[in-house]
């Protein structure tokens, strides 16, 4: 039996569908990411699971029990908000123990629980500081510890890392995941950061415009996106129109050659540290294409407007059965026309 079951949830704001027939389930101890662009309904869904919003229709089951109309205070979840919402007039210690004091647990047990929490989130040195005296990362950990203090059934994280700078974020990704694994707590995290979702989640729910686009493990989401939206939202991708069918390929899977393959011209070259991002123009197809080449491979010979050949390995090509989203979003290479006038005509 699934631990948490989201059954056909629909939520409208006026005429706008924030969520439309959303279904998925979580296993006990699973770490699930809700991923999507802003406005896709992921935060609304999280708030519905917490009971802070009400769905228009649909049900939520926890361990087989319908909790759709259960008040948030009775749902036994821990939550970390984007802003952390730490009580500014309480020290880190007081913030974390605020809820514990309300529970009638014995002093010994409470002390043991507190010690355990502080060691898990590594906060011993800042116990008696106020939130304003803590760094962003420390605040985040206090919020996490506070959410975990009452041994919740499940944990909800609403963009918990978005307020932090890149270095701290990377470190905390690992810490949160380790803590989650240690406690084996079922977790749902909302994020718009694909890298965060790919690195942390057991499974990812990709959402767009209130609907679920794909649910799968990170590797498959990346390698076998179910539709053009997912392919485009996660990582970089080239779409290649072939009559009516649409195929796609990731930039790093394209091979470059001096003599054989499809003819192309270099439009632009960008150094990105670990790799070079080339923008090429396929002369025959009237199309632009992105190619990544590891920077340890010498490509010094490639100048703008130079002629190259590319190969598209067949096993790396993704073919979509469902073209619906392609036309919605217009994923074509927009700067082709510009290129045509600038380069091809010269």
């Amino acid at each position: 039996m699934s631990h948490l079951l989201i059954n056909d949830i629909t939520k409208k704001f006026g005429n706008f569908f924030a969520l439309k027939n959303v279904n998925f389930e979580l296993e006990d101890g699973e770490f699930l990411c809700l991923l999507g662009p802003s406005g896709c309904g992921k935060t609304t869904l999280l708030r519905i699971i917490a009971g802070l919003e009400e769905p228009d229709s649909g049900k939520i089951f926890l361990n087989g029990k319908d909790i759709t109309s259960v008040h948030p205070s009775k749902r036994k979840f821990g939550i970390v908000f984007q802003s952390y919402a730490l009580f500014p007039n309480m020290t880190a210690y007081e913030n974390i123990t605020f809820g514990l004091k309300n529970k009638k647990s014995s002093k010994n047990e409470m002390q043991r629980k507190i010690n355990e929490l502080f060691s898990i989130v590594n906060l011993d040195h800042v116990k008696f500081r106020y939130p304003s005296q803590l760094s962003g990362g420390e605040q985040q950990r206090v919020a996490l510890a506070r959410a975990l203090a009452l041994d919740p059934d499940f944990l909800l994280l609403d963009e918990p890392l978005s307020a932090l700078d890149a270095k701290v974020r990377n470190k905390l990704r690992k810490e949160i995941r380790e803590t989650q694994e240690k406690l084996k707590i079922t977790t749902i995290m909302v994020t718009h950061d694909q890298e965060e979702a790919l690195t942390m989640a057991d499974r990812i729910v990709v959402m767009d415009k209130g609907k679920i686009m794909q649910i799968d493990i990170p590797q498959r989401i990346y390698e076998l996106p179910a539709n053009p939206f997912v392919a485009d939202f996660i990582g970089d991708i080239n779409f290649i129109k072939d009559n009516s069918a649409i195929t796609a390929i990731r930039p790093e899977n394209i091979c470059i050659d001096e003599k054989r393959g499809i003819e192309a011209k270099v439009y632009h070259r960008e150094f990105r540290g670990a790799f070079y991002r080339l923008t090429l123009c396929l002369v025959d197809k009237n199309q632009m294409i992105k190619v990544d080449i590891p920077s340890n491979k010498k490509i010094g010979f490639l100048e703008n407007n130079e002629r190259v050949f590319i190969e598209l390995p067949a096993d790396k090509l993704i073919t979509f059965k469902d073209n619906e989203y392609y036309h919605d979003h217009n994923y074509g290479n927009n700067n082709f026309d510009e290129f045509k006038t600038k380069v091809l005509s010269s």
């Binding site: 009971g51 009400e54 007039n89 605020f98 309300n102």
Partner: protein, 569 residues
Amino acid sequence: MTTFNNRISKLSPGNLFQKILIVIFLLFLVISIILPLCSLFVEAFHDKSGSFTGIDNFYYYFSNPALSQSVNNTLFISFMTTIISVLLAFFYAYSLTRVKIKWKTFFKYVALLPLFAPTMLQGISLVYLFGNKGIFTSLGIDINLYGAVGIIISEILYTFPQAYLILLVAFEITDYRLYEAAETLGAGRIKQFIRITVPSVKYGLLSAIFVCFTLSFTDFGAPKVVGGDYNVLATDIYKQIVGQQNFSMGAVVGIILLLPALVSFTVDRITTRKQSSFLSSKSIPFQFKKKPADNLFFFYCFVISVIILIFFLVAIFASLVKIWPYNLKLTFSHYIFKTVSSSGIKPYINSIIVSFVSSVVGTVLIFSSAYLIEKLKSMKIIRQLSYFISIIPLALPGLIIGISYIMFFNRLNFNFFGFTIPNIFNFIYGTIIILVLANIIHFYSVPFITANTALKKIEREFENVSYSMSIPVYKTFLKVTVPLSITAIMENLMYIFVNSMTTVSAVIFLYTSQLKLASIAVIHMEEGGSIASAAAMANLIVLTNVAVRIIYEIILKKIRRKTDAWQKR
């Protein structure tokens, strides 16, 4: 949606409690604001015997020159007061915010002094200076005090701090980059003043103009003391109601009195919304530079603050001498009120009790109500309605509250289309409850807005966090929301107390001889010719208010020291 809310509320007693509470608060507001106002309006369209007369009462009022002359008089007073007071306050606030002058702290506090005094105090001092036995009069300088001149001078002193405070805030909201840009473009000081300074405070200026106009239009204390035969609307109401028991005519005058306040209220609502958008996070505060005319501004502030101080010092001095201005031997005899009034010192004690109760009960009520209006998620219509009614008192002069309270609470029963409904609220009439209630409602809106602003700054998710931790909402309210809003709460406590001590307009209709208040005693003693005792009582009010203010500042400092750790943001 609603069915869902009901389902959830059944499962959470805390939430249900909040919903019941907000409905109770709304009922409270309706009973203490809306229903009395309705009574006032109903009364204006009925004659003495209680039969409906349409606009006959208004017609009678305006066709009777003896009565309608007051409208002209009041308009004249208010125009003069507004022009002079706003001009004086404008340059005073300008000097303190835009010019590098010395003694700024001193000037700031002196300008606030009139806020601590009942308006009769200015009148009394004027009498000592320019009245029949005034010093200047005895030197041959007669300014023809009793009448328009006296009222205007008193009203200027009364409205000056209000205009000054509004303009001070307007001047403080500035972006120095505008002046830097002007400087690089070669604009001089005067050009900068006309093209940048004045436009940047235009909303504050507008607000100050309307506030001064409304305050002087509705003030009762000063015309009572120095008005002589010069009739204004506020004293007319008093005569109609207390003197002639003509409630219908009192209600008519009341409605006329309400008009400028309604305009002012509307303007104020619009301007506060617009002014806040002027400042961006990139704005730079004003940088002071030494300029040649600075001494002129210092001199200006010095003269004004000396004049304000003179008024207070004269009142203190005159209350401490035997017979002004003939026998200047010091004595405390005027502070022994038993000799001139049978109630003695009791009004002062009553005032302290009423003000204290009003301030504590009012603050608790206002803050909890503002909390529910701001933080409750459901019941949107009730919350919006409550918010709207909560800011109505901003437009209600004290006199209106006073007479509408008589008309509503003094009734034993109401007639609705032939049905007779007993007035279950009649029991508070003539008790301390109605005095406290009148004060709370009279001074409701400003603390409400203060509380609302403070609550808006508090993170919205705190309630949600407490849900997730199964902490009851009241606990989060007491342990988080209240500590985070403590400065706003303190400010509200002080605001209601100080204003309850000085006010006379609402309570003059509602007190009983057992529950006479200090400000009313001032009026009675002045009426009875014991002007030195009246001054003494007024001084006690000022002294108490200044003491309360000092205590407030000390407590605030202590709180700040404690909360400094977590208030750095």
